[in-house]
Subunit: 435 residues, 2 copies
């Protein structure tokens, strides 16, 4: 039985217990959220038998972040991608997706699943496209076999672009940037060549069987997400979202867990609308967004352009944020890009959790600010999202050990530190009150 099936039957699974503990929620609440489909616990039975640590993704839980890794045909290798994965998890990624293309993707995936305790996601059509000379040659059974093979390996959630229909493609005809989802483009290419409906849609129930058998969580891929501000919130995007709503219901009927993926590139004033429509049309299925990027003008800094959109999306109700690295649009991220992407997204997720008043969310902020006010530099660094960077920056101008006890930093110096002055002022007030 899948998590949703057990939840509906009234059972609190060990995974729900674990989620309740880490989220400081009542186990019964977790069960009811999973039963309702408003929370998913991506936990493939095969991966669970190894040492997967279950996490809950949904509006009742802390905002989660995903880090994409994976080699391309042009760049990187298995060891390098494993290193990125470990770094991402170390920096706080809640899940990782292996988006490898190129050779040996089976081996990369196996090693990634073995090496991590966080849920692992994939996009099976990449392997299909990789193994065939051309996606046009794809037969349905071939796709199904790849999905089953990956499920057997222990993949916890899969992005499959089932909701992109033939009739949607012409809606992208006037787009500035066309189709920017790799999976979406592959499906569109297949449909154009065959003159047939998307087989991932027509055979949806077959896929549900595999997803159900292993309890792989659906991540309904948004093949028509906008790739530029100009294309945001257009007919193509929303037509696909409506079909995602239909498929959410069908998957749930088959006792599968479902997330829904979202954009992309969206101006700030349209983010709330995107979240609200997804919530409404997809019956509150956890929304898993890529950014969104809020301006197209900053290649090299898209971890920032998208952290702005991601924090807002999470505040409005998105459940998981897929990171974007500084290298987005420019090349395959390296180790430092992965770190920058994860940190930016930890910030976005945490800021949203604070804004949503999630249980205990602000405790770390308060503890760090207390340490800051007390000039307890060591504690401030310890509590920082990236202690090493914080310490290094302090070291740049005040490297001596004694400076780690200074009641000032090099920004203001000893005479102009406002917090230092406050401290003196309070001392004076206490003395006055005591005298």
């Amino acid at each position: 039985m899948t998590q949703i099936e057990q939840a509906r039957a009234g059972s609190v699974t060990p995974e729900m217990e674990a989620v309740a503990r880490s989220e400081r929620l009542d186990p019964e609440l977790v069960r009811s959220e999973v039963a309702r489909g408003r929370m998913v616990i991506p936990a493939n039975k095969v991966h669970l038998e190894k040492d997967l640590q279950a996490i809950g993704i949904g509006i009742a839980a802390r905002t989660k972040i995903n880090a994409n890794i994976g080699k391309s045909a042009v760049s990187s290798d298995t060891e390098c991608e494993l290193e990125k994965m470990l770094l991402a998890v170390d920096c706080g990624a809640d899940t990782v997706m292996d988006l490898s293309t190129g050779e040996q993707i089976d081996a990369v995936r196996r090693r990634i699943i073995e090496a991590t305790t966080v849920p692992v996601g994939t996009v099976p059509i990449y392997q299909v496209a990789q193994q065939l000379d051309d996606i046009v040659d794809m037969q349905w059974q071939y796709f199904l076999d790849v999905v089953e093979q990956q499920a057997r390996q222990g993949v916890d959630y899969m992005t499959i672009h089932c909701a992109l229909l033939r009739e949607h493609v012409p809606l992208t005809g006037n787009r500035l940037t066309g189709i920017v989802s790799r999976g979406g483009a592959l499906v569109a290419r297949w449909m154009a060549a065959h003159g047939e409906e998307n087989p991932l849609y027509t055979h949806f129930d077959d896929l549900c069987e595999i997803m159900h058998q292993y309890d792989v969580t659906w991540s309904l891929g948004d093949g028509l997400r906008p790739g530029s501000l100009a294309d945001a919130c257009d007919e193509a995007q929303f037509a696909e979202l409506r079909v995602m709503g239909e498929l959410t219901h069908r998957a749930r009927q088959r006792n599968c867990q479902v997330m829904v993926e979202g954009p992309g590139h969206v101006p700030m004033d349209q983010i709330e609308r995107n979240v609200k429509l997804q919530t409404q049309w997809c019956d509150e299925a956890p929304f898993y967004v890529l950014g969104p990027i809020v301006t197209d003008i900053a290649p090299g800094y898209d971890h920032i352009t998208s952290a702005i959109g991601a924090s807002m999306a999470a505040w409005y109700g998105a459940a998981m944020l897929c990171y974007v690295t500084p290298k987005e649009h420019l090349g395959l991220p390296d180790l430092d890009d992965v770190r920058q992407g994860v940190i930016a997204y930890k910030i976005a997720a945490h800021a949203a959790d604070v804004a949503r008043h999630r249980v205990g969310a602000r405790e770390r902020d308060d503890a760090l600010s207390k340490a800051r006010f007390e000039f307890n530099w060591a504690e401030q660094f310890r509590l920082a999202l990236d202690p090493e960077t914080a310490r290094r920056m302090h070291d740049e101008t005040l490297p001596q050990k004694g400076h780690k006890k200074s009641h000032y930093c090099s920004m203001c110096g000893p005479e102009f530190c406002a917090m230092n002055m406050t401290e003196q002022l309070r001392k004076l007030e206490r003395e006055k009150a005591g005298s």
Copy 2:
């Protein structure tokens, strides 16, 4: 006559004309916004006689960003700060504030005003505190003389903490991080020592005379801005904001231009409220915010934590954003920190301008996305906020010259580029349609 005085008299000054041109607004609209006090044009008459380029700060104009520079007693020197200033302006800072403390601040300021065509702001109390052994020794005339001297040098706007009253200080007693504004802490210290009201408040009209004479724009400093999420939106902060409202009216009555400064550290769900209250209490005076930082847990990355808050504040109606660099809370920013801070804030300001549908705001996004879709890498880099960084990142994995014409990047490789596939798909459709 000051800009507001002339605007009220019905005159469109050459500075208003210049603002109208650069903002693509009707000069009469600019005049009426300035007359209404909803837009300021910080342009000291002395600086104007040199080569100041006038800019408009207000809700009708593009969101502006300010870069703080200035040496501290602990770190940096004049040449280094000049270099930072030039870099900041080169990266797109609309104004700079010289926040120097330590020795020779007169000389630094003079050279900065000489070297730039953007408006320059200062915080005069820093010089006062620097020149006296202790701020407690400050006599009113001394403060006034420093303000006049800086005005004579050509400073275009000044942050003065006039609205922090004696009765406000006890409201900070239970704060987690007390007073975090240097100016605010100096004023509080003076008041505590003398047992008297803030002289910057009691002598406000004297200050208005100088501001009026040179047309220095007021930037009413928020001495009690919160320095942590825990202290956001407390009584102390809002008590001061109410007095800022009173002073806005008084300054305008004396034909002075006024901006109002804002926080600081604010959770995302409180940003809109902050902007709305300022707008209401300060009669729509341009709101000039520092961030706000939306989580305290990321020292080393506060350009990002604050770019999230700044973009939201600007979208809700703030007119100017004071940048925060990655070094915030840790040390004096170096050249690269300045660059990172300015770029993050250009992103925040631009994203808000797009979200507010300001005239032409999205044109650059669309042009860049068009270049991206056409694999016109050179044009994509040229239009990027930071062309050098974008090109360098692309070079990292695809350094050869020929790759700058490739229809893919190292992220997806030639087989998996969605935009490349879209291009082929569209070509196919065109051929079909033609046959």
